[in-house]
Symmetry: C2
Subunit: 357 residues, 2 copies
Amino acid sequence: TQNYRITLLPGDGIGPEIMAVAVDVLKVVGKQFDLEFEFQEALIGGAAIEATGEPLPSATLDTCRNSDAVLLAAIGGYKWDSLPSNLRPEAGLLGLRAGLGLFANLRPAKILPQLIDASTLKREVVEGVDIMVVRELTGGIYFGKPKGIFATETGEKRGLNTMVYSESEIERIGRVAFEAARKRGGKLCSVDKANVLEVSQLWRDRITQLSQEYPDIELSHLYVDNAAMQLVRAPKQFDTIVTGNLFGDILSDAAAMLTGSIGMLPSASLGASGPGVFEPVHGSAPDIAGLDKANPLAQVLSAAMMLRYGLDQPKAADHIEQAVLQVLEQGDRTGDIISPGKNLLGCRAMGDALILA
Amino acid sequence: TQNYRITLLPGDGIGPEIMAVAVDVLKVVGKQFDLEFEFQEALIGGAAIEATGEPLPSATLDTCRNSDAVLLAAIGGYKWDSLPSNLRPEAGLLGLRAGLGLFANLRPAKILPQLIDASTLKREVVEGVDIMVVRELTGGIYFGKPKGIFATETGEKRGLNTMVYSESEIERIGRVAFEAARKRGGKLCSVDKANVLEVSQLWRDRITQLSQEYPDIELSHLYVDNAAMQLVRAPKQFDTIVTGNLFGDILSDAAAMLTGSIGMLPSASLGASGPGVFEPVHGSAPDIAGLDKANPLAQVLSAAMMLRYGLDQPKAADHIEQAVLQVLEQGDRTGDIISPGKNLLGCRAMGDALILA
Ligand SMILES: CC(C)[C@H](C(=O)O)[C@@H](O)C(=O)O
Ligand SMILES: CC(C)[C@H](C(=O)O)[C@@H](O)C(=O)O
């Protein structure tokens, strides 16, 4: 038996209900594959603010550090939107990324044949789309200094942030991306704004240099505005994309939306060593929280990514992904992905269907 | 007779051929509306680099300053891609924007019923889409300092740029956007990343404050990642969008691509006073330059925007826009927007069709 300590961060909104489903699925799969999970729950986001006044209590970070992987659901809600930014749920997420050194964010956007009609794009445009966005997650303008709101001599305020990357930061995310491309279609597109930004020129130079170590990977470069366009125009041209923190935030969401069902999309955030964090791409959906209406599949697929990338248990991961495909194949749908003739299930019932699948 | 001095900047690639069509159309419309245009041509971009070694010779900026409006075609090409960035064609464009103080960039993305099938999105998703992106154009990370590539103590290089906005910069673009929304559907969506960036917090605060002066406009706020998503998910929800330089670059291109035909989209760049610059959204398309294959309609519609926003001649602008709709209605198409059963025309022939329309 293989033992794993897993920290669960259910967070806010629909977080607890989708997390409950993922845990049930993990327990069943654990039995089948002889894996034993020790789950420990901790507070983050709005839930942590309510209980402790802080979005990321230090006890939470300690618990995460002492585990083999972290499964996160979702954070945030209207309730905390007017707090100062360093006390908001989002600050907990950024603190977690920085605290665990999670510099590599993997965001797959894959069209599932069963859900292709959920896309707002034409079938022939999105059929077969399978994109992996590799986003740098602990650098760039999210963490660069100086930053803040300052008064000028005239008394006028100026807000500023700094977009900054060092060669070593670029190289380390570049390596993750080249390796990911190697396991996929062998194509890597690096996205920057090198025609305007110096930080992007360094990015492009370093990625280009690095490509000499990966002669089997076909490297291309796009400016971020063109990349946003190409995702809408012809998304099938993309295999793996690598980009900085801010551009990755924007492009991975655009790519996710091509699938039409962000309730289906997981993500992984990984560091050089230590536990990774696995979480759905979607938010906490406070409007449907507690109503048993949420789609738990992105959370369940995040658990699969945890098995694959965090615990090196690809077979158990495959098994979960197959179960998801099977429930879709048999017509089970939550409200966000329902279409005529399919079976509408609640969050809990979708979990039960997965366990039987 | 009203007299206007117009600077023409044909630039690179297909620039000269589409500019020739726009000039012919302006001449004809001028006669009909009793407007006299004095055209003066000047160098910019790659063409200027070849002739003078600089992407924006000072003579060009002087000529522009001494005119009532500037009509620009397109700049850039593979040929100049390996030059250092301050000598590249793009530097000419940025210099023109800064030199003329063009802080407001208006980028309409409107679905034309005749071309709706060119969109990669489903008809029901894009039918009726009519978005105006108001992008700040002389501030933000495009011009913020410090910037550059620096060596750290360890010898490692760091690239950095500064995203900065002052209250007065936010206010002045905000006013343009609120006024634009007032002439349109009365809805304004401000896009930022206020959950992470201080510069965006100032942006959101200042726009919110300003909205008190525009009680008739319905203001909303979106984070840039969500905005990119919503443009793909449900673009009809947008009327007018206001955002900073970098986010505007990305989102206006994504919005443009929703129409499926960026060969049709014009833009206007305006300052507090002095001449504006009017140009197509598309690039210089070096691969089809000189082949009489380019679509001149975005250039012609840019001339219409010049008449409307630069010279206050809305009737002449209407007339050009009607002519464009009429040639589309009668089935005339260039190669980029051709579909079965339509008449394929070259660039020149499309110009002739417009003049007869
Ligand atoms: C909530 C927010 C801070 C976060 C980000 O911008 O990284 C989110 O949009 C994401 O992509 O995970
Ligand atoms: C060519 C480039 C400098 C420019 C920009 O980024 O502003 C272009 O993409 C645009 O949007 O006009």
